[in-house]
C-alpha cells in the first residue's frame, strides 16, 4: 500500500521541489553558461528589502484573514447547524462565495471598490459623488480590501469545516447538560467549544497554508500597489520569475516559501495533529 503512495509523492511533490531547489542554485544571467552560485541567491534574499516587505505584508495578511475567517466561519457554522425552515437553501447560499473562482471574485471586488461607479461608494454616499473614496489608492485601505475580499470568499470554507465538527458532537451531551440546568452559553463554552477544537484546528491549518499562497486577489485587485503596499511574497515571486525572467532568484523565493510552509505544516501536524488524534474516541 505504501509504495504507490510514496511513488505518487515522489513524482509529484519531491521531484519538482528538488528540481526547483537545484534551479535556485544557478545564476539568473549572464554568460554563455548558467553558472553555479550555490546559496548566493539565498544570501541575496536575506538582504532584499523588497522581499522583506513582501514577507511582512504576507504575514499580516495571513494573521488577519485567518483570525477573521475562523470567527466568521464559526458564526456561519453555528447558524446553519440550527434546525430551521429552509436550512438547506441557506447552507447552499453560504457556499456561493467559496464556489466562485477567485479571479472572478477579485474582479468583482475591484468593481465594488471602484472610485467612480463602485457599489460600495454608492451605498455609503449615494448621490454625494464627491465624497466617493478611492479605496484601492490608499496603501492601508488597499491592504484591508484584500483581507476583506479573502474573508468574504473563504469564511464559508472554514464554516464548512467547523460545521462538520459540530455534527459529530452527540446530541445526548446537550440533553444531559440541559437536564443539569446548563445555560446556552455554558453549553457552548463547555461542550461545543472543547469538542469543536479538532475541527477548528483543522480549519486553522488549512487556512494558514492557503492564505500564505494568496496571489490572485493581489494580481487582479492591485497588482501589488500602491507602492508595494499589497505586494505579497507569491506575487513578488511571480514578477521575478515570469516578468523579469530571473529563474534563479525567482525559484529561490518559491523554495524559501516552500520550506517555510513545510516547517509550519510540520509544526502544526506535530502539535495540533497529536492533539487531534488524542481527541479521537478510543
Amino acid at each position: 500500500m505504501a509504495f504507490p503512495a510514496l511513488t505518487f509523492v515522489a513524482v509529484f511533490s519531491l521531484y519538482p521541489a528538488m528540481d526547483s531547489f537545484l534551479l535556485s542554485l544557478y545564476s539568473d544571467f549572464p554568460g554563455p553558461e548558467r553558472s553555479f552560485v550555490g546559496f548566493g541567491h539565498y544570501a541575496e534574499l536575506l538582504q532584499d528589502p523588497v522581499a522583506h516587505q513582501a514577507f511582512i505584508v504576507t504575514l499580516g495578511f495571513v494573521l488577519l484573514s485567518t483570525i477573521l475567517e475562523l470567527l466568521m466561519g464559526t458564526g456561519i457554522a453555528l447558524v446553519v447547524h440550527e434546525r430551521f425552515r429552509g436550512r438547506g437553501w441557506v447552507r447552499a447560499a453560504v457556499l456561493i462565495p467559496w464556489a466562485i473562482p477567485t479571479v472572478v471574485a477579485s474582479q468583482m471586488w475591484r468593481f465594488l471598490l471602484n472610485d467612480q461607479y463602485g457599489a460600495i461608494n454608492a451605498i455609503l454616499f449615494g448621490d454625494r459623488v464627491n465624497a466617493y473614496i478611492p479605496w484601492l489608492a490608499d496603501p492601508w485601505m488597499a491592504f484591508g480590501a484584500i483581507v476583506l475580499a479573502d474573508v468574504w470568499k473563504t469564511s464559508s470554507f472554514t464554516g464548512l469545516l467547523v460545521l462538520a465538527g459540530l455534527q459529530v458532537i452527540p446530541e445526548e451531551t446537550y440533553d444531559a447538560a440541559r437536564v443539569d440546568g446548563a445555560t446556552a452559553w455554558q453549553r457552548f463554552r463547555h461542550i461545543t467549544l472543547p469538542l469543536l477544537k479538532p475541527a477548528l484546528l483543522t480549519a486553522l491549518l488549512f487556512r494558514t497554508i492557503d492564505a500564505f499562497r494568496v496571489f490572485d486577489l493581489v494580481f487582479v485587485m492591485t497588482q501589488g500597489g500602491p507602492g508595494d503596499a499589497t505586494q505579497v511574497i507569491q506575487f513578488y515571486g511571480y514578477k521575478t520569475l515570469f516578468t523579469e525572467g530571473r529563474m534563479g532568484y525567482g525559484t529561490t523565493i518559491s523554495v524559501t516559501v516552500f520550506v517555510a510552509m513545510a516547517i509550519l505544516s510540520l509544526f502544526y501536524v506535530r502539535t495540533v495533529g497529536s492533539k487531534l488524534l488524542q481527541r479521537e474516541p478510543a
Partner: protein
C-alpha cells in the same frame, strides 16, 4: 447535505490519522506551489540560459537568410493553406483589426491567420508571450513587441532578425525613433506598426472660457487648472485638474519619464551606464508630481488608474487636462464613448522652465518568432499590415498614428486626425525608455520607487531614489560584465 458533511469530516480526520506527519506536511506544502512548480521544467531553458544568451548565434550570418535559402532551393508547392498563429493583444478597436486581417487573407488566399487574443495589458501580454517563447513553441509565428522588448527578445534569441526582409531602403521610410526601438546590436527585429507618444489632451471649451491658451510649462498647467477648478466648483464639483496614469505598472514609468525629461532629469545617465534618479533634476521633478499633480490637481484615485480609467474620467467631462497616447483622440470625439465631442484639444506635453517638452515613446512592433516554421508567410503578413494602405486604415478608423513619415502628408488621414499636423514634431522627438535586455527588472525597480513616493507622502524622495539607484546600477553592472 448532512451525509456530505459527515463523510467530509470522516475523510479529514482519517486523513490526519493514517498519514505520517511528514506525508501530511509534504502534501500541505505541495499545495503551495501549483504556480511555479507546475512550470519549472520548461524553465530549464531559461531566457538567460545557456542556449539563449548566446550572442554569437545572433551575430552569425542570420537565421532569416538560412531559412530563405532553404525555402528558395525547394520551390514551394503548397496546396493546402498555411495557417499563421498570431498572438496579439485585445485591441481598443477590434472591428478595425478584424477587417484588416480579412483584407490580408483575401490578398493572400494561401495564408490564413489564426489570432490568439492575449490580455490588453502590456505586462500580462509580455508574460504570456515570453512563456511560449521560453518553451520554444513552434506553433507561434507572429507577435507584437512593445517598444521596450526588442533588446530582451533579441538577446534571448526569441525574435527572428529581419535584416534580410526589412531592407534598408524600406526602413528609411519610417520615423527613425520607431526603427531604432526595434534594433538591438545593429540588427533589426521589429517592424513598427505605429508610433505612440504621450501628449496632453485638454478641454478646449474650458480653456477658452477662462481665456487661457494651452499651457507650455507645468506651472502654467497647474495655474490654469486651479483657476478653472475654482470657477467650475459649482457647475461640476467632480471636475479634476489632471488625469494621468499613476498606478504601479508600466504606464507609470512612461508618465514619470515625461516629467523627469522635461526637467532635464532622466532615469539613466546619457551613456545608459548608470542610474540618474538621484540627480537633483530628477528628484525635483518627482517632488513636483507628488505635491502639485497628485496632491493638488488629480484625485488620489489616480494612483489606481491605467490608461482606460484615466481616459474615462476625461471622457466624462471630469478632467481639464489629460495625458494619454494618440488613440484617445478618436474615442474623445466619438459620441458613443464621450461627453466632450468637439471640445477636445491636444498639444505637446508641458515642460519645466529651462527644460524641453518630453514625450515617452511607445508603440508596437511586429515580430516573427525565431521558432516559426513559416517565416516567409509571416513576413508577407507584416509587410501587408505595415504597408501605407493598411496604416492609413488604422489611422483613420482607430486613430493609430502611422509609423511611416509620408502618411503625415496624406489629406484623408489629416482630415480624420487634424492634430497630426502639429504633433509630428512630438512623434519625431519622442524619448525611448532604457534599451536593455534587463528592462523588465529596471522597470519594476522604477515602478516601485515612483509608486512608493507618490502613495506614501511622508517618504524621503532622495532616500528612495538612492535605493532605486543602487539596485538599477547593480543590474546594469551585471550586463556590462557580459
Amino acid at each position: 447535505m448532512n451525509g456530505l458533511h459527515v463523510s467530509f469530516s470522516i475523510a479529514a480526520s482519517s486523513f490526519l490519522r493514517h498519514f505520517s506527519p511528514w506525508a501530511v506536511g509534504l502534501f500541505a506544502a505541495s499545495l503551495l506551489f501549483n504556480v511555479p512548480f507546475a512550470h519549472c521544467r520548461e524553465f530549464g531553458t531559461a531566457p538567460f540560459g545557456s542556449a539563449s544568451f548566446d550572442f554569437a548565434r545572433s551575430l552569425r550570418s542570420g537565421q532569416a537568410q538560412d531559412r530563405q535559402g532553404r525555402l528558395g532551393a525547394s520551390p514551394t508547392l503548397v496546396s493546402s493553406p498555411i495557417t499563421l498563429h498570431f498572438v496579439t493583444w485585445k485591441a481598443d478597436h477590434p472591428s478595425v483589426w478584424d477587417e484588416a486581417i480579412q483584407r490580408f487573407e483575401q490578398a493572400h488566399p494561401h495564408i490564413r491567420v489564426n489570432r490568439e487574443i492575449a490580455p490588453h495589458s502590456s505586462t500580462a501580454y509580455h508574460d504570456l508571450l515570453t512563456q511560449k517563447l521560453r518553451n520554444r513553441d513552434v506553433s507561434l509565428d507572429l507577435f507584437f513587441m512593445d517598444v521596450i522588448w526588442p533588446a530582451e527578445f533579441a538577446a534571448a534569441g526569441w525574435a527572428l532578425p529581419l535584416d534580410e526582409y526589412f531592407t534598408r531602403g524600406e526602413r528609411e521610410k519610417f520615423l527613425p525613433a520607431t526603427i531604432a526601438s526595434g534594433v538591438y546590436r545593429r540588427r533589426v527585429y521589429g517592424v513598427p506598426s505605429r508610433i505612440d507618444s504621450g501628449m496632453l489632451y485638454y478641454r478646449k471649451d474650458l480653456l477658452e472660457r477662462y481665456g487661457f491658451s494651452p499651457p507650455s510649462t507645468w506651472h502654467d498647467l497647474v495655474r490654469q487648472a486651479q483657476a478653472i477648478l475654482e470657477g467650475e466648483r459649482i457647475t461640476n464639483p467632480l471636475l479634476r485638474g489632471y488625469s494621468g496614469q499613476f498606478k504601479q505598472y508600466e504606464g507609470l514609468v512612461c508618465d514619470m519619464l515625461e516629467f523627469l525629461g522635461s526637467h532635464n532629469g532622466s532615469f539613466l545617465t546619457d551613456d545608459d551606464s548608470r542610474s540618474n534618479l538621484t540627480a537633483p533634476e530628477s528628484v525635483q521633478a518627482v517632488q513636483f508630481v507628488r505635491e502639485q499633480i497628485i496632491q493638488r490637481l488629480a484625485t488620489p484615485a489616480a494612483l489606481t488608474y491605467q490608461e482606460s480609467e484615466s481616459l474615462a474620467v476625461f471622457l466624462q467631462g471630469n478632467a481639464v487636462f489629460h495625458r494619454n497616447w494618440p488613440y484617445a483622440w478618436g474615442l474623445a470625439n466619438d459620441p458613443r464613448h464621450s461627453k466632450i465631442v468637439g471640445k477636445v484639444g491636444v498639444t505637446p506635453l508641458p515642460r519645466f522652465p529651462g527644460g524641453r517638452s518630453t514625450s515617452a515613446l511607445g508603440g508596437w512592433l511586429y515580430g516573427i518568432s525565431a521558432y516559426s516554421r513559416h517565416p516567409d508567410e509571416a513576413w508577407a503578413f507584416i509587410e501587408f499590415m505595415a504597408s501605407p494602405e493598411m496604416q492609413k486604415h488604422f489611422a483613420i478608423h482607430a486613430s493609430l498614428a502611422p509609423s511611416r513619415l509620408a502618411l503625415y502628408a496624406d489629406p484623408e488621414i489629416l482630415r480624420a486626425n487634424p492634430q497630426y499636423r502639429d504633433l509630428l514634431p512630438v512623434f519625431q522627438t519622442a524619448r525611448p525608455r532604457p534599451r536593455t535586455p534587463v528592462y523588465p527588472i529596471v522597470s519594476h525597480i522604477l515602478q516601485r520607487y515612483f509608486s512608493r513616493v507618490l502613495a506614501f507622502p511622508g517618504t524621503d524622495i532622495r532616500k528612495e531614489a538612492q535605493e532605486a539607484d543602487r539596485k538599477i546600477n547593480r543590474f546594469l553592472a551585471l550586463l556590462r560584465d557580459l
